[in-house]
């Protein structure tokens, strides 16, 4: 995982699972927010029996292990951790959230949702509870409720880029392209140099597909190609498709050079770059690519 010559603490702990190594690995997982629930549970089995009450991070470890245990369906271990935390922190929202998560894991999503709602009602400034509520709705398959909860959350925490991205995905799932476009616009405002946002925005615009939206899609696909390190294939493909939709694929359009973004030139550019990429990385796919190109050119004429 890590490029540096120093092996990652997780790898060390996997090789020699001593208590000290496992503690270091758990701290590493916590700090970098790695999603390794199985490893976490395995290390917890080594660490927990000897976890000294003097250790500064014992409560962090317990919370971390509780979440990982819930993710891997280790209910006994999770209950142990949560009980120890609840004993120490009687009136804590974080413990309450853990208990609610246990309900979620057991399938009582409705109970969990009620608990999250109570926490939010008592303290509207608890982003953790909001995010869990969104996750619970999403897990239960109620995407509309998830999206609306997330929208309420974003009215307060409007600089949370990941939340905007999540809402955009939910909106796409719901088929609400207007809202998805709005989210990607916000993301572009927040992080204008991340080409992913430009790319996804262009894809939404392309999907909506009215003429003026296609113009915007073409511009933002071009923007994504320029911003991405080596011209992302996904952005190039988008550029190709958008240019084809705008009539750039036909051979007659290639001659006319209108002012402004020229679909024909962009089509040719994307086609050549993609052809190079296919030749280099996936020669077995080159034939189907050429078929697609000729299909696009044929349908445009």
């Amino acid at each position: 995982m890590s490029v540096s010559p120093v092996p990652s603490p997780v790898a060390v702990a996997r090789a020699t699972p001593s208590a000290a190594n496992c503690m270091a690995a758990l701290a590493h997982i916590r700090r970098h927010e790695l999603a390794l629930p199985a490893d976490t549970v395995a290390m917890a089995r080594v660490v927990l029996p000897t976890l000294s009450s003097a250790a500064n991070d014992q409560w962090d470890v317990l919370e971390q292990v509780a979440v990982a245990a819930l993710q891997t369906n280790e209910m006994v271990l999770a209950s142990q951790c949560i009980r120890r935390l609840a004993k120490k922190f009687r009136d804590s929202d974080r413990v309450r959230i853990l208990i609610a998560m246990k309900h979620e894991a057991e399938g009582d999503v409705q109970v969990a949702v009620e608990m999250y709602r109570e926490i939010i009602e008592a303290k509207p400034n608890s982003p953790m509870a909001y995010k869990r509520l969104v996750a619970a709705h999403k897990g239960a398959g109620d995407l509309t409720a998830a999206a609306n909860t997330l929208a309420t959350y974003l009215e307060t925490y409007m600089t949370d880029a990941e939340a905007w991205a999540e809402l955009a995905e939910l909106a796409l799932e719901n088929g609400n392209y207007g809202r998805a476009a709005f989210c990607y616009e916000e993301l572009i405002l927040l992080e204008p140099y991340n080409y992913i946002h430009h790319l996804l925005y262009a894809e939404v615009m392309y999907t909506v597909g009215t003429p003026e939206k296609l113009d915007i899609a073409l511009a933002y696909f071009a923007q994504a190609v320029e911003l991405s390190p080596h011209g992302s294939p996904r952005a190039l493909t988008g550029l190709l498709m958008a240019a084809a939709r705008l009539g750039g694929a036909s051979s007659t359009a290639a001659a006319s050079s209108a002012e402004g973004p020229n679909p024909a030139a962009l089509f040719k550019l994307a086609r050549d770059k993609l052809r190079l990429l296919y030749t280099a990385d996936a020669p077995q796919m080159l034939d189907s690519f050429e078929t697609m190109i000729s299909g696009l050119s044929g349908s445009a004429q």
């Binding site: 003026e212 511009a219 923007q223």
Partner: protein, 233 residues
Amino acid sequence: MDLLEAHGHWLPRAAFERRRQFFIDGEHGMYNQEREQVNALDAMANNPAMSNMMSSQMAMIVPQILTMGIVNYFFSGFVILRVPFPLTSPFKAMLQQGIQLSDLNVAYVSSLSWYFLNLFGLRGILDIILSDGNAADDSKLLKQQMGQAGGQPGMPQDMPKIFAAEKENLVLVAHDWKVAGVADRLVAGRPRVASASASAPTAKHAADAAVAAAGAGSDSSKPKPRRRFARRS
């Protein structure tokens, strides 16, 4: 500072205008809504840190006043020493408190004045001798106060004024769609750094196109109440 001002040029014209309207449009604009003025004194009274400071100050002041009364009663009215050098008459107020003799030489010091001189003049030395190794208390206190003065906790800011300034800035922003020139640049194979000169000729065209798009979409130019999210199904 404002996100829309700084990065709004990355959005299409219609999207930018929609956000601008959200802030400045008519009565419903974010910056135009009436806000209740927060009274500075109320805010201070409601601030627990402030009232804590007041009560601790009071606890210091009451014994001070009592001590002063006692000292005044017992020590006033007699001369206690004579400084061995001549002084000019302005020192009279400082050295001869509690004695109403206009002719007395300024070199004679009254007991009350001597008490005060010692109280204030020897504070540093007394701190070193009497305190348990935290003689730096004063400087710590000073630092604390300085920090507070910088942050101004609980002091209400004048939001209407800030909003008015922000609104003015936002009204003045000329939207210059940065994405407009990218396609041409890409086709011409020019690098990104030349963006200023490359995008100039096409910017106008793109802006026109965007205005046309906004008109066709009929979505951005109507002054109607707007929510943060477009709730369309």
